[in-house]
């Protein structure tokens, strides 16, 4: 994986006293730093064609002024897994063709990390203490990659000791990177899941630009498992193309041959999906991608997905390949309807709490 190096580090006054700033300075000494009184996230000059891509080149360090802790919004009418998110950064140094952030962050695409990690922990602590009877599954990879910037920021290394001590939480670090070095000497105490978004190498090469290769992700997963972390895998987005079955089946075989699945927390499946707006952005930014050549139709939540019989068939095949190795591993569908759940698994969770509860005890 090629290591990301920003062109410039823009630091909001006050953030230069943070541990994140110190980490950035010591790990990126060659990157010029600009201290500003107030950050302005107009990342481009208006003449740049690829504003979203350009925005990834400057790294902003600023205080986060809103709430860190949020409920995952899910997707209208789809089965939800009752997940919570903590955002310690926004945008991602990688550049997957299908990334929903291209549309979601279109008004503010700046790549930024937040310096007030103490506030994040305080806010999480208040929530977790107030609801001790509730088991939280929290992820940090909703609007950024959980680990891609970790070699420079050290934020996750600050978070793990706190979350590892909490009795009612499972913190998921979702990534397409292999940046796990700073995690390996910490004790996750069964509370931290490191999860990889996985696709076969041909998909990675075509559409997951700047990410770790399949082999690098697998090696990183093996190192995390050896260090005591629970693992998760998200086969999402699954891409349909000529020969996809061979590539995905081989990928599953390699994962299960390399790792102890009994220490997996969960696996999820989801097919490629995008809003019409995101489709326009993909077409503009990646005109040669074959992602959009699939047979996608409009779904009730406004997103485009492969037509239902086709994606049911894809999910069934994946479940069958996984079950050959791991008959009892927890598998769930991400952003799918009850009808599809029913066809794939023979049941559908009655509500989001039911699915959340099924996944929570796996801590």
């Amino acid at each position: 994986m090629n290591r990301f190096v920003p062109d410039e580090l823009v630091v909001e006054r006050g953030s230069e006293s943070s541990s994140v700033f110190n980490n950035l300075r010591s790990t990126l000494p060659q990157v010029p730093v600009k201290i500003v009184e107030e950050v302005h996230f107009a990342a481009t000059d208006g003449r740049t064609v690829d504003q979203f891509g350009t925005a990834k080149r400057r790294l902003f360090l600023t205080r986060h002024k809103g709430e860190f802790f949020k409920k995952c919004p899910g997707s209208d009418g789809q089965v939800c897994c009752n997940y919570f998110v903590i955002n310690f950064a926004s945008n991602c140094p990688m550049d997957c063709s299908y990334c929903y952030l291209q549309e979601y962050l279109s008004d503010n695409a700046s790549l930024k990390v937040f310096s007030n990690i103490g506030d994040l922990i305080d806010e999480a602590d208040r929530t977790l203490r107030k609801h001790r009877g509730h088991f939280f599954r929290i992820g940090t990879g909703e609007i950024t990659d959980s680990l891609a910037l970790e070699p420079y920021t050290g934020i996750v290394r600050e978070l793990i000791p706190y979350f590892a001590e909490q009795p009612n939480v499972l913190l998921e670090l979702k990534t397409k990177s292999d940046c796990v070095d700073t995690l390996l000497d910490l004790d996750p105490k069964g509370r931290i899941v490191v999860a990889w978004s996985m696709n076969p190498q041909p998909v990675i090469e075509r559409d997951e630009h700047g990410t770790a290769s399949f082999a690098e992700r697998l090696t990183a997963a093996r190192r995390c498992q050896q260090a005591g972390y629970r693992l998760g895998f998200h086969f999402d987005p699954m891409i349909e193309y000529s020969g996809w079955e061979n590539d995905y089946e081989s990928m599953i075989e390699e994962i299960f041959a390399s790792l102890d699945w009994r220490k997996f927390s969960w696996l999820s499946l989801g097919v490629l999906r995008e809003t019409p707006g995101l489709k326009r952005v993909i077409r503009q930014r990646f005109p040669r991608t074959r992602l959009l050549a699939g047979e996608q139709v409009h779904c009730p939540d406004g997103k485009l997905r492969y037509f239902q019989p086709q994606r049911i068939q894809m999910y069934r095949k994946m479940v069958q390949w996984i079950r050959q190795f791991a008959p009892t591993v927890q598998i769930y569908l991400c952003m799918e309807s009850k009808e599809v759940w029913q066809q794939v698994f023979g049941f559908a969770p009655a509500c989001e709490k039911e699915l959340g509860n099924q996944l929570a005890p796996l801590a």
Binding site: L292, E295, V297, H298, Q308, P309, Q313, Q343
Partner: protein, 163 residues
């Protein structure tokens, strides 16, 4: 226009000819341009060649049809080309519905795109006697093989339904 200008001149001309002859409106045109670009990328063919393919060309020039019907046929042919497996599944479902030889008062259908996996059943009657007859006929339909095949097609057993 900007998008159209980005095409190769022969592709631009082929589409312009079609647009002028069928007076295609903006929304239809946007959708057709999406499909044409996606087919071209997937199949490695030029847009000019796609539009010259026999089913599309025939639909666009059929002298027996009015302009609106020709546009409808062209779009249907383009959709079939863009979504071949979806169209095949929809065709198979239609074949199974025909095989049921339904009472004229009973109508079975699925939504375009097949999202939701539901078979829509409609029937009507003008009297109790008619209603009894329709319900009895519907009851027979439930146990027929084509009905099961429809649900197998809707649930992802594409091309594998034992028809």
């Amino acid at each position: 226009m900007e998008r159209w200008f980005s095409w190769a001149p022969p592709d631009r001309e082929a589409l312009a000819t079609l647009v002028l002859s069928l007076k295609i409106g903006e929304n239809h045109l946007r959708e057709m341009m999406d499909w044409l670009e996606e087919i071209a990328l997937r199949d490695g063919k030029s847009i000019q060649d796609i539009l010259a393919d026999r089913p599309i060309y025939d639909a666009s020039t059929d002298p027996r049809l009015g302009r609106a019907d020709r546009l409808k046929r062209v779009k249907e042919q383009l959709r079939r080309r863009r979504y071949p497996r979806l169209a095949q599944t929809e065709d198979q479902i239609r074949t199974q519905i025909s095989a049921l030889k339904l009472h004229p008062e009973i109508h079975l259908s699925v939504v375009p795109g097949l999202e939701g996996g539901q078979l829509k059943v409609e029937f009507q009657s003008g009297s109790m006697a008619e209603l009894r007859a329709v319900v009895a006929k519907l009851s027979e339909v439930v146990s027929l093989r084509p009905t099961a095949a429809i649900f197998e097609l809707l649930s992802g057993e594409i091309g594998q339904a034992q028809i």
